[in-house]
Amino acid sequence: MTAIQTNPVVRLEIASQPELLAGARALIAAMAQRCGFNEIMCGQISLAVDEALCNIIKHGYNCREDERIWISISITETEPKSIKIIIEDTADQIEVSEIRSRDLDDVRPGGLGVHIIKEIMDVVEYEHRQPRGMRLTLIKTNKPSQARENKEQKT
């Protein structure tokens, strides 16, 4: 599925509380920086993770604050460096095809999170965990020369 074989160097477990997003973002941004991403990209990668965590809190756990979310982070040692972030929960499993943002032209509050995640990350893969919950795999590779190309292909 992915070319990255490194063991996760960092694992974070947080309660499903909006107040903890800031801590998760700070950790992700610092790890992205270790991967050589510039400040704007570090901010965007932590935004993508923030959006995924928000969705788990809102949709997966219906805003219950006593549930758990696990985030594991690995960084490849070889160039071009990649950061891989796996986010897991124990929420009800839903069809992966139901996870999608609204049509961007139909402007209304909400419905942007999944779009933001997909715009920022190179790989965005939702799947069912065993025995329960969802797993989201996010990968971003730090290829300065190809960054532009990727973006153009995508849009």
Binding site: A22, R25, E39, Q44, L47, E51, C54, R108, L112, I116
Partner: protein
């Protein structure tokens, strides 16, 4: 180490404009307070509502949703909603969400007032 900030929200007036100025990160934990302050400012039916983001280093889609809702309410009230003074990182999320063309965005607060 971290320049994440606990959100504070200031309400200011200039002429017939009401200005809502949040300072800090606007995420799922901060967006409800912003929503509440904007809604309160809107209840006074100002002809011009300015959201000054100069003090906001970070916003996620919860913040965007709050602003889209505020814009829709402003339209119904025949009021003008202007967002101003975006930091680069926040501007980039408006662009990713393709909302940079949907909102009236001013460079500075002065521009927002005279727009």
């Amino acid at each position: 180490m971290s320049n994440t900030q606990q959100l504070e929200i200031f309400i200011e007036s200039e002429g017939d404009a009401k200005i809502v100025r949040p300072v800090g990160d606007i995420d799922l934990s901060g967006a409800p307070a912003l929503r509440q302050q904007i809604s309160q400012a809107q209840q006074e039916h100002p002809t011009r509502l300015i959201v000054d983001l100069s003090g906001v280093p970070y916003m996620d889609s919860s913040g965007l949703a709050t602003l889209v809702e505020a814009m829709q309410i402003a339209r119904r009230n025949d009021a003008l909603l202007i967002i101003c003074s975006l930091q680069d990182k926040v501007r980039s999320i408006f662009e990713i969400a393709r909302l940079d063309m949907v909102f009236k965005i001013a460079q500075s607060r002065e521009d927002a007032i005279s727009m």
